[in-house]
Symmetry: C2
Subunit: 217 residues, 2 copies
DNA sequence: TGTACATCAGTGAACGCGCGTTCACTGATGTAC
DNA sequence: TGTACATCAGTGAACGCGCGTTCACTGATGTAC
């Protein structure tokens, strides 16, 4: 058990600098450290630049090599979260053909992501990012993410499943806000006597989209 | 326009002390100052003991005459919020007899309260209060507040309006989380192309409770 | 009627902490000549 | 082959700020004797 040069504890002061030309590796390390921090203390903790630097084992000033300020760091963390959320929803539904099953599976995947990563979820959909970063502008990651919900609902409509008088945008918005409310309250009020998560997601999404939740597999 | 002794600017250093025996007046002044602060900066601001003291025109230490720590101050602010929310819902529905109209009017009043007082709403339903204050325990103000939703749904069920296979608790929970998701996202993502608030509340609550939204007045 | 004392409604200074950001710097590695 | 210089990947000290909380205190008003 002899200590060697390659022994690198996280947060150790002997972190080796990246080789020339590979400075951008630190950017990923910073974002990883932020995710770690958010995962560790999911109790309403805020992300701070200094805490991220400490977790990454670097000086606070080194963050500025890759982000102009702390808000842009938060933005980058949120954007990585949207990528992961989209991947999880895709993975949960790409083997399914019934549009109803697709809608339910994607909604469940969304809810599971939120409850598995409450800190990241809050950064993505909560009040911590300043509105100046225009996170809900058309074309932004979060809007792209919402458009996949609209698309899923449109497939249901084209299959004649949902009530035809409501627009896909209208229904997608309802599904989004309902599942968002469900997961945020489950995170923030864990003492409430919640029914099982999947049961509630299926029930609410099924009702809002106008189909029964017990569809054949 | 001569200055007299009774000229009391808010935050002035010349705040007169309360008469003997009336020290508890300050408690209400502190809570008023907290509400003012929350109303002024509803952009994700946190309530701080020092900021409340400054707004009330007192020394930070004076808060401790009435609250053991900052969390109990926040708790008191939240509890006043629940009282006001209950009053607003009652006022919005006490002239109505149709159970469907009652359910919709109370839901709309809830949503209006949240959007009119986003800072207070976040304190009541968000992550800012430590779970140790057991805010969702049976019998707490927030649980009492939720029980009124269950009661409203029960009246609908007894009138044969809602689908009979779902329990009132089940449906009330769905209504609560749906409207909560709607108002928090409207607060935190004001750039999204939202449909009118009342339209969305009526549509979601009507769908979840199983009745059409265009009921006769 | 006078006075000592208790109570009440607060205040003021100080503590140690974490925060975002700035500025000047260090020291290794590549490249031009 | 040697050397001056530019670039790159970071660091360290310091700034002013707001935070929650502590401790000892002040000064007015009531009450007991």
């Amino acid at each position: 058990m002899s200590a060697t040069v390659s022994d690198q504890k996280p947060g150790s002061a002997t972190r080796p600098r990246n080789p020339r030309g590979e400075g951008s590796r630190l950017r990923a390390e910073i974002l990883d450290a932020a995710d770690t921090l958010l995962a560790r203390s999911h109790n309403a903790e805020r992300l701070s630049l200094r805490a991220v630097a400490k977790e990454a084992g670097i000086a606070p000033t080194s963050i500025y090599l890759h982000f102009p300020d702390v808000d842009h760091l938060k933005l980058a963390v949120a954007e990585r979260g949207f990528v992961e959320l989209d991947e999880l929803r895709e993975a949960a539904s790409n083997q399914l053909s019934d549009p109803r099953q697709v809608a339910l599976a994607r909604s469940r995947a969304y809810a599971h992501f939120a409850l598995a990563h409450p800190g990241r979820y809050r950064l993505m959909f909560g009040p911590e990012l300043p509105p100046s970063l225009s996170f809900n502008a058309v074309g932004s990651r979060s809007r792209q993410s919402f458009e996949t919900v609209v698309h899923t609902v449109e497939i249901c409509r084209n299959a004649g499943i949902t009530p035809c008088e409501a627009s896909a945008f209208h229904l997608a918005t309802q599904v989004w806000v309902a599942v968002h409310g469900l997961v945020t309250l489950r995170i923030d009020r864990p003492g409430f006597p919640w029914e099982p998560l999947d049961t509630m997601v299926d029930s609410m999404v099924g009702t809002l989209l106008g189909f029964d939740i017990t569809v054949p597999q």
